[in-house]
Amino acid sequence: MGVGNRPAARSNVSLEQRAWNIRRKALLMGEVQGQGYIGQALGVADVLAAAYFHALAFRADDPEWEGRDRFLLSVGHYAIALYAVLMEAGILPEDELPTYGMDDSRMPMSGMASYTPGMEITGGSLGQGLGIAVGMALGLKRKRSPAFVYNLMSDGELGEGSTWEAAMAAAHHRLDNLVCLVDFNNQQADGHSTEMLSAEPLEAKWEAFGWHCQRVDGNDLAGVVAAFDAARALPAAKPRVIVFDTRMCKGVPFLEGREITHFVRVEADEWAKALAVLEEGRPQ
């Protein structure tokens, strides 16, 4: 895929700035609703910045362009984060940001394909994205397309049996055009993922299922970019997974320091404070 369809490759905006912009947009949406999966959005912003502004081929003015890399949001709860990056990428108009979560918005609280340009699937029933990704990767191979399929899932989805059915299928069918992205923030509804139903040893598990596995700090942009590059360049005829260890609420220290929960509670007056704190960390 040529540089021409990778907007970031011809942009002079740094990935640090992109990640910061994604966090800011997510906080602005959170402020609109007074709620949202803001902890996850802040945590995964670096991964999304690297995905959309380094790895993916897409056309902002044609979200269904046949040659695009597919990005599946299996974890539909992260919609607020994806809307932020879709706006940053120019796929969604930024002036719709204040409609987030409102009636008749194109940005509902949980991600759905029928509502939002750039939202490939309806996620949210966790453990479904990877199986759909398997079918899309098979379909792209049938069409002899060089496009990749990326599936973003949460660590909680590792508990779903269907994830491992899909993992077996991807390896069996040698889907080297499939990249699974696991956001490992070690947090799910009832507590730490590793204490609910541990998926460890995770790298060994993926490798035993026939995948090429990398595990990196998901808030270290240089490392995230290198992992995307390695996943794309790997010559082996096997699917690839990158496990990103991320920090909930990354970028807003007073929220990072708070007792972290799946659905971070932010008081009404704290959104402005969070935006102000983020502003202090604006990349130079």
Partner: protein
């Protein structure tokens, strides 16, 4: 402590005596062919090969049941368009959704119990909510095996009737299946199809020579002035056979075949049931909860059409294991039992 419902397993049984014959459970899929009708081998597999030859978008997937859903015919004819997904129904239907997203028309096969019970959330969210053209084609619908509840999909129609966007077909015979395949391939949305496989009888054209399957349409396959049976699936065959027996007793039975259970052809059903003077009976290879009978009852009552109404179907229960013939007699699906039930209601 033994649960009351399980106490019978401690009752000893005797071997059949010299005079006694006892039917035995046949292989997984018992044949419905021994009804005095000609049969066709693997009508689904051959129809899919023919449809796929005309439409390059068609691909086939199975969850380790190609031989038991007649998809092996397609797999052998078009191996590069066939995906063996292994014993993994959730990823099979999810992958079918992904293939549909990329422009293909996937036919995914398994047993009806596994599609309706195990893969339901994936069919609901990955396929139906997106209105994707995935065709789920399932063997062992209703009571078509003696293996017991693990393989008897007695509530699959009820499950899928509740799912928006889903078209549901319950074919009666080989000609229905041959007509159904190109029709659902052309339908731009998801479909759930019950399948008869192996040697499948040709029933409908014997009773109505110009019969042709039409998606979404009911068809009057026999005229009659005393009783109207509204039937789907192979119960149309049982209703027709019962009608022949009842005719010998002077009872004149009409049979309306309803191969498409959803969307229901209410116009034709209301027109026939509204003629008046006839007992109206529904007949389905499915629990009486949530299937054709209740759908017809709702349509009639809503329209203010209120004939004397009865339902033939499986009870609201987990069914026994045994020979299919024994079970069909036990639960009222055999032609004799259909005839005797109708007679009892007149």
């Amino acid at each position: 402590m033994t649960l009351a419902s399980m106490a019978r397993k401690y009752e000893a049984r005797t071997a059949p005596g010299a005079d006694g014959t006892r039917l035995t459970t046949s292989a997984m899929i018992a044949s419905l062919a021994a009804e005095g009708y000609d049969t066709v081998a693997a009508p689904f597999g051959h129809a899919l090969v023919a449809a796929a030859a005309r439409d390059e978008r068609i691909v086939g997937l199975t969850a380790d049941l190609s031989k038991y859903t007649d998809l092996h015919v397609f797999a052998e004819a078009m191996p590069d368009r066939f995906y063996q997904m292994g014993m993994a129904e959730q990823v099979m239907v999810s992958a079918a959704a992904g293939l549909a997203r990329e422009g293909f028309v996937p036919f995914a096969t398994t047993y009806a119990v596994f599609a309706s019970r195990r893969a339901y959330d994936f069919i609901a969210m990955a396929i139906a909510e997106e209105n994707l053209p995935v065709k789920i084609v399932c063997a062992l619908p209703g009571l078509t095996t003696g293996y017991g509840p693990s393989h008897q999909a007695t509530e699959d129609l009820a499950i899928f009737r509740g799912l928006p966007n889903m078209t549901i077909v319950d074919p009666c015979d080989a000609d229905d299946i041959a007509g159904m395949v190109p029709a659902i391939a052309a339908h731009d949305g998801p479909a759930y199809c019950r399948l008869l496989r192996g040697r499948v009888p040709k029933v409908l054209t014997r009773h109505k020579p110009d019969y042709r399957f039409e998606l979404g349409k009911a068809s009057l396959v026999r005229e009659g002035s005393d009783v109207l049976v509204i039937a789907t699936g192979f119960m149309t065959m049982r209703a027709l056979d019962a009608a022949v027996r009842l005719a010998a007793d002077g009872v004149d039975v009409a049979v309306l075949h309803v191969p498409t259970v959803k969307p229901l052809d209410t116009a034709t059903i209301l027109a026939e049931a509204g003629k008046g003077g006839r007992l109206v009976v529904t007949a389905e290879n499915h629990t009486v909860v949530g299937g054709l009978g209740e759908a017809v009852a709702c349509a009639l009552l809503t329209a203010g059409v209120t004939p004397t109404f009865r339902m033939i179907g499986l009870p609201d229960a987990f069914l026994e294991a045994g020979a299919l013939q024994t079970l069909h007699d036990m639960y009222g699906l055999s032609a004799d039992k259909v005839a005797s039930q109708i007679k009892g209601w007149l």
